[in-house]
């Protein structure tokens, strides 16, 4: 049965989560690392059966990564961003690929570009980069400009300066 957005928000608030009402059909949910699997299982059980994407944000000044799980419900037509903050020095999260099979590729990608490890996922091999030996390239402390100048002899602004 279709639930209204306000009902979904109420259920999530009752579970002690912080909820942000973003758009007509989108809400954001902040969860703690220890509760992540619990909350995702709960969302799945109330009809959020589709995981669209997993992505990460590097908050380098706060020393944290924010991993965002996008889940969608075909019944409620609501898109939830499940956000979890983890320590940058110990970037480990439990895998969700036994909840959603497609998480396999998203986790591989997040691991490749941010170096976040997903415990329980046995195949975190790189998908896109070949022979990568530096720190993961989408971390904020990775200087792509300097990297390009050193490795590819890139000229700043095409050599115009």
């Amino acid at each position: 049965m279709k639930m209204q957005k306000s009902d979904v928000i109420k259920q999530l608030v009752d579970r002690g989560n912080k909820v942000y009402d973003l758009y007509e059909n989108q809400i954001a949910l902040e969860v703690k690392k220890d509760n992540l699997l619990n909350d995702l299982v709960f969302l799945r059980s109330i009809g959020f059966e589709h995981l669209s994407f997993i992505t990460a944000v590097d908050f380098i000044d706060e020393g944290e990564f924010e991993v965002v799980y996008h889940v969608w419900s075909y019944t409620h037509k609501i898109h939830i961003l499940v956000k979890v903050r983890i320590d940058r020095k110990e970037p480990i999260l439990p895998t969700v690929n036994n909840l959603w099979e497609q998480a396999q590729f998203y986790e591989q990608e997040v691991h490749e570009f941010f170096g976040i490890k997903f415990e329980g996922n046995n195949d975190l091999s790189p998908l896109f980069l070949e022979n990568w030996v530096d720190i993961p390239p989408l971390r904020k402390d990775f200087d792509t400009r300097e990297f390009s100048i050193r490795l590819y002899d890139a000229e700043v602004d095409g050599g115009d300066i």
């Binding site: 990568w132 530096d134 720190i135």
Partner: protein, 161 residues
């Protein structure tokens, strides 16, 4: 993107005796269109070396000349001529089909006058090209000097080949 209109009825390069080939082994000219990532570079080198002599290379668009708008990316090479010999370049982002036809006809003139023979340069200076190719494709030490904390097991398999 410019090649389909160049090949089909509106610009019709076939009237100048220019046509697409199915495999590198039947081709005379290699057109490298757009930015070149490391993965692409590997395949470009393989394709180029498969082509029978005499052979020519047309670098197509700003990206192959100096990286274009992607010059400071972690995975885009900035100067194709460092890795394979380039006979003629077409600038533009993207070039018009007229520019492609013009470049190919200029190339024909250069071939007749003996100016275009970069494939000989490849054989003579093979060490230079090979060293550049290996530097980016088989790197073993981090370019920025930062070592990744995460384990990189299995990430360097390609380098050992």
């Amino acid at each position: 993107m410019e090649l389909p209109p160049a090949m089909t009825s509106r610009w019709d390069v076939e009237r100048f005796g220019i046509g697409p080939m199915a495999t590198p082994r039947q081709a005379d000219v290699l057109l490298v269109t757009g930015y070149v990532s490391l993965k692409t570079l590997k395949r470009i080198i393989r394709t180029y070396e498969q082509m029978p002599e005499p052979k020519w290379v047309l670098a197509f668009g700003s990206c192959t000349v100096n990286g274009g708008i992607y010059w400071d990316s972690y995975n885009t090479i900035t100067n194709l001529a460092e890795y394979i010999p380039v006979d003629i370049t077409v600038s533009g982002c993207m070039p018009r089909p007229e520019a492609v036809m013009d470049a190919l006809q200029t190339l024909m003139k250069m071939i007749q006058s003996g100016e275009a023979g970069a494939y000989k340069k490849y054989k003579e200076n093979y060490e230079y090209y090979k060293a550049n190719q290996d530097r980016v494709l088989k790197k073993t030490v981090p370019i920025l000097g930062q070592t990744p904390e995460m384990d990189l097991e299995g990430k360097n398999e390609d380098a050992k080949e």
